[in-house]
Amino acid sequence: MTQTLKSPPDESPEPPAGRRWWRDLLALARNTWRGLTSMRTALILLFLLALAALPGAFLPQRGPSPQAVQDYFTAHPTLAPLLDKIGIFNLFSTPWFSAVYLLLFISLVGCLVPRTWEQIQGLRARTVAVPRNLSRLPHHAAGTDPRSPDDVVADTRRRLRGWKLDVREEPDGVRTVSAERGALREVGNLVFHMSLLALLIGIAVGKLFGYEGDVIVMADGSEFCNSGILSYDTFRPGLQVDGTNLDPFCLDVDRFDAQYRPDGAPESYRADVRYSDAAQIADGAAPTPATIQVNDPLRFDGERVYLIDHGYAPQFTVTFPDGQQRTQAIQWEPVNPSTFLSQGATKFDRPGVTDDATRRRTQLAITGLFAPTSSGGGVVTSTYPALTAPEVAADVYRGDLGLDSGKGQSIFGIDQSMVDQGRLVRVDRQNLVPGQSLTLDDGTTIRFDAVKQWVRLQVSHDPAQDAVLVAAIALLVGITLSLTVKRRRFWVRATPTAPGARSTTDGRTVAAGSSVELGGLARTDQAGYGEEFDRLRTDLLPDRPTSRHETPPRTDPDEAGPGDHGGSG
């Protein structure tokens, strides 16, 4: 066991008078360091970490589920702002959560450095000499062997292949073998803790230099370019990312295809794209075709592009009384995730109008509901998510859309306050299937041409992600070794049978045999070592049973000793 397992030493005795202040400071620093890097502190910090993460299991978090946080605010109008003050909805970036893992991090470093040093020293050190009294060990056997001690030692060596092993000589021709196995346990433990450290660093690097952005792209050959924050609908930058030098690449979405089962449950999604990385853009080379599917993002040059959502965009052509035409398809928002009933607003400016006042009287918006598979009938509802019988229930508004007010407005709706003020008026309402059109009172016709599909893509960039994966794999290997390898020791002492004791009457002495003693000690997990010891015993000392002790002279930390259980009734 390492020193770190012991609790930190108590305060040192009172300093003698006249001691320099910096010595006190040094002592304080040393004690603080020892305290911080003790096993007990690590344990407390682990529990604190679990406790600090706990609210995240109950309460929604802004990162993964902003909508749920909104709902929580609506449901708990007094409690939510209070919780928000202490950062509960951004739990994992609060100072107090960071403080806990930072302390763990420091503790881990302080704990690992000396242990690694010890381990390196230990690699060069010889094995522990054979104890005087082998019969006190938990595993023990004794017997005689007709061969000389040297032969016994040679035989033992042969049988203990793979063990770390030292042969020593004791006075009077006694030979001993001390062997150890299972040092990988400690190595595994160190690898595990170091990987943990690496993992934390990797995660932090990702949080600093990574970013994520969402963008909706029409699946009709439209292009998205990663040129800056403004290319995105939403952008979540890392702490060190200002969005000015994103890796340039462009992506064209040619086609989107969804398959559904007869009951409407989705079966697969797929987008066909072409992308150009920085080099292709620079050379003007042809883009590379690729597909993006659920669970199967597009990966190139450290960029990842995911297909995370999709929907429909009804396309309308407006023919104005003067004969001018405008065609537009913008995304409508699915309001029912299983039937893809969608709502939205497609907005038009009258072409050729230059004066603001006229413009504000003649803007058009087509809003309403869109059903990919319409139920038919007067009220449009959707019965199936695929595009089999599309129909739109169109409400046409004319007037001032309020686009110049400076207020942001949703692309999926119109500004209701304009309607309330009478500045935006509904002028028609009809259900249309593709190819059908309606005519407004001023002669403007609106045709529902067709339906396009859109996809929502997420671009993710995390420069440390591969490093995190490597650390995670090392962590797994480390913990597996640490928990499965058994550390054990095995000792042999071969004492020559006293010469002369066996001399026969004719004066010849029989070749000296040996009395052989074996001892075994499991250093980490006693249960399970017995079989191996018994096998070695059978090899080296046939016909000798192993003796075992009721209470071993020492117990190992994994082996709870009798005193640990408060068991004295």
């Binding site: 682990l46 993460a53 930390p557």
Partner: protein, 346 residues
């Protein structure tokens, strides 16, 4: 992906048969447990057994203990010993008391139940044409299966622990009852986000580790009860349990096996999340709770190496760990909404 509904229904029949057989097995173990006698330990440990009272030092003088009424049951020992020679009857044959017969019947029925249980999952997997742990009903069925399997493996290696049967089967039965009622879902394919071999890998690892941790949790609870009894003599029935040291050790060994598998499950989940959701970790409620459970179990392993934390405190941490796992299965799946909303309930 075709769903064979009648076959799925047959799987349900197998599920309930397995449950019924387990209940019967638990009752037999309960009878076994009831028949074990308690006496003061001073006379209880027969002379033939001391070699078996190994490193753990199970019974302290003055506490009560169980008469080792069958050859294998007498030792509260550290355990690598082969079954020690037990008490013998006058004609030299070891006695086979009634309690042992009931216990053995309980074990046989457990094995039978396990067979039905395995068949259920196979049928379900064939019916749905995917690994049979895509919703909570199937997940619970699979976790309890691993729990029973872990228990039988322990039993095979340490027959003297047989009297734990009733306590291991109890949570298995409770979980299966919940699975068959509240969580029940018809056979169905899963949504596209779940079509991935990482599903199979991630969830399989989670199932295996949860099952083993279920057993570890039971052992730690019993350890706590037994060790409280050892120190104050209350709850006399716990004297029939194996010694505190043995319980502590099996709990530790089971956790030590399960922890790397759980670690792997979390990592595989992160790999899957990276491919499906665009980030390897996003503090989704399910991820958060899995992380908390991992930290708590790491705390347990630490505690067993920390002076002043071994024994009861460590065992309490292990129980908390299992509580977090159960919370993750029930509360997070059913109450909290997150990306992991594939519970398939309701």
């Amino acid at each position: 992906m075709n769903v064979d509904a009648p076959l799925g229904d047959f799987g349900d029949v197998l599920f309930y048969s397995a449950l019924a057989v387990y209940i019967l097995a638990m009752l037999l173990h309960a009878v076994e447990h009831g028949m074990l006698r308690r006496v003061a330990s001073a006379e209880a440990v027969p002379a033939a057994v001391p070699a078996a009272v190994g490193a753990g030092g199970g019974d302290e003088p003055g506490t009560t203990t169980v008469v080792p009424d069958d050859p294998a049951a007498g030792d509260d020992a550290a355990g690598d010993d082969p079954a020690p020679a037990g008490p013998r009857t006058r004609d030299g044959r070891p006695p086979r008391p009634a309690s042992e017969r009931f216990g053995r019947m309980g074990v046989s029925l457990t094995v039978l139940g396990l067979g039905l249980h395995i068949a259920m999952l196979v049928v379900r997997g064939v019916a749905a044409d995917r690994p049979p742990w895509g919703n909570m009903y199937e997940f619970v069925a699979a976790v309890t299966l691993v729990g029973v399997l872990a228990w039988l493996v322990v039993l095979f290696r340490r027959p003297e622990l047989r009297r734990l049967g009733v306590f291991v089967l109890l949570p298995v039965i409770v979980l299966m009852m919940l699975g068959g009622t509240v969580l029940y879902t018809q056979t169905a394919p899963v949504v596209p986000a779940l079509h991935s071999y990482w599903l199979a890998i991630h969830v399989t690892a989670a199932v295996i580790s949860s099952g083993i941790l279920l057993f570890a949790g039971v052992a730690s609870v019993l350890y706590l009860l037994r060790s409280v009894h050892d120190s104050n003599g209350r709850m006399a029935w716990t004297a029939k349990l194996p010694g505190a040291a043995v319980l502590d050790r099996v709990a530790y060994r089971a956790t030590a096996v399960a922890f790397p598998i759980w670690t792997f499950a979390v990592i595989a989940g992160a790999i899957w999340a990276e491919a499906a959701w665009g980030r390897y970790w996003g503090w989704d409620p399910k991820e958060t709770t899995a992380f908390i459970a991992w930290v708590v179990y790491a705390g347990y392993l630490h505690a067993r190496s920390t002076a002043g934390w071994r024994g009861r405190k460590a065992a309490a941490v292990n129980v908390v760990g299992f509580a977090v796992m159960s919370f993750n299965l029930f509360f997070v799946n059913l109450v909290v909404t997150g990306l992991h909303s594939y519970a398939g309930v309701g």
